[in-house]
C-alpha cells in the first residue's frame, strides 16, 4: 500500500476514533459522575421512582422552585437526576474534586465550585452550550446526602444562574427534587 494512502487511512481512523470518544464522553457524563461518586464514596444512588418520572413527564417540567418567586428553571423533560440518601460520604473531598474536574474537563466548563467543611457540603456547577440552550451539570454532596442533576436550561435561566451561582445551585437542586403534581 502506498504511504499516502496509509496516511489518509490513519487520519480517517484517528478522526473517527476521536469523534467516537467525544460523542461517548458527551453522552455519558451524567452516568460517569454518578458512577464516580459511587466508587469514590462507596455509596449507591437511587434513580427516580417510576411514578415520579411519569409525573414529571406529565407535568412537562420537573418542578417549581420554592422560596421567592416560583419559577421553572429547567426545560421540559430535560432533567436527569440521581440522589444518594442517608449514606456516609467519607473521603478526601479535594481528591474527589480533582477526579471530577479531570473527568469533565474536555466536555464541560466549570462555573463555580464551593466546599464547606463546617456543613460539610460540596457543590459543583458545570456548563456547556447545547444549541441555543445550555446544559448544566450540578453535583452536590453533603455528609449524608448527594445529588447529581443534569438539565437543559434556557439562556435566560443561565443568566440567572450566572448572576448568583450559589443561589443557582440551591435552586436547580430544589427544582429537580421537588416534583410538582399540580
Amino acid at each position: 500500500m502506498k504511504s499516502a494512502t496509509l496516511i489518509k487511512l490513519a487520519t480517517v481512523l484517528m478522526v473517527a476514533s476521536l469523534w467516537a470518544n467525544v460523542s461517548h464522553a458527551i453522552g455519558d457524563d451524567f452516568n460517569t459522575v454518578v458512577k464516580m461518586i459511587e466508587q469514590f464514596y462507596n455509596v449507591k444512588h437511587e434513580g427516580l421512582p417510576f411514578l415520579a418520572k411519569a409525573a414529571m413527564k406529565a407535568v412537562g417540567v420537573g418542578a417549581k422552585v420554592k422560596g421567592g418567586e416560583a419559577r421553572v428553571f429547567a426545560e421540559a423533560g430535560s432533567i436527569k437526576l440521581a440522589t444518594f440518601e442517608d449514606q456516609e460520604f467519607n473521603g478526601d473531598f479535594l481528591k474527589f474534586r480533582n477526579s471530577l474536574n479531570t473527568a469533565l474537563k474536555d466536555t464541560w466548563t466549570p462555573l463555580v465550585q464551593t466546599i464547606s467543611r463546617e456543613e460539610p457540603e460540596q457543590n459543583y456547577i458545570f456548563v456547556r452550550e447545547k444549541g441555543d440552550k445550555f446544559s448544566v451539570l450540578v453535583v452536590s454532596i453533603s455528609s449524608r446526602e448527594g445529588t447529581v442533576v443534569q438539565a437543559t436550561v434556557s439562556a435566560k435561566n443561565l443568566a440567572l444562574l450566572m448572576r448568583d451561582p450559589e443561589e443557582g445551585v440551591k435552586t436547580i437542586k430544589q427544582e429537580a427534587t421537588i416534583v410538582d403534581h399540580e
Binding site: V112, T114, I115, A155, A159
Partner: protein, 192 residues
Amino acid sequence: MKSLFHTFPRTPLLVALLVVLPAITARAQDPRIQLTHLDHLATRASETVDLNFDERLILAAAKIFNDKDEDEAQIKKLITGLKGVYVKSFEFENDNEYSSADVDSIRSQLREPSWTRLVNVKSKKDGNVEVYISLTGSQVNGLTVISAEARELTIVNIVGPVDLEKLAKLEGKLGIPELGVESTKPKTKNEQ
C-alpha cells in the same frame, strides 16, 4: 547527503527557540494567573469558593443578559470585552491558617514586568488589599486583587480591559465577593 542538522549544526537550537520563544512571550503577557497553588488551603478552610468565568461563558453571558433588565444590562456592559473572571476565596475558623508563602505564590506571578501594583488603593474591609494591573503598552489587559485578612484569603483575577471603577461595580455580582476596593486618589477641587 548530509543531514540538515549536520549541514546547519545550529538548526536544532534555532528551531527550539522559534518554538519556545512565542510561548514564553505569550506567557509573560498573559494576565491570567495560576491559582492552583492555593488548592491545598481547601483542606484547612471552612469555606472555599472557586469561580471560573472563562471567555466562552463571558461571551455567552454577554449574549444572553437582557438589556431591558437594569441589573443584567449593567453586568453586560461591565463584562463586554473581558476574557475571564477567576475568583478563589477561602474562609478560615482560626488566624494564621494560610502562610505568607501561599500569598507569595500569587505575588511572584505579579512580578512579571507587565504587572504594576497600584499604591493608591485601599479597602473598606480589614486586612491587607493589594491591587495589580497588567498593561500592554498603555492598555490595561488584566487586574488582580489579593485580599488577605486574618481569617480570609481572596484572589480575584480579571483578564481583559478592566479598571478599578469596573471592579467596584462588579463586586457582589457574578459571584465576585465584596472587596470594598476604592481608589484613594486625592479629590480635585471640583469634586470636593
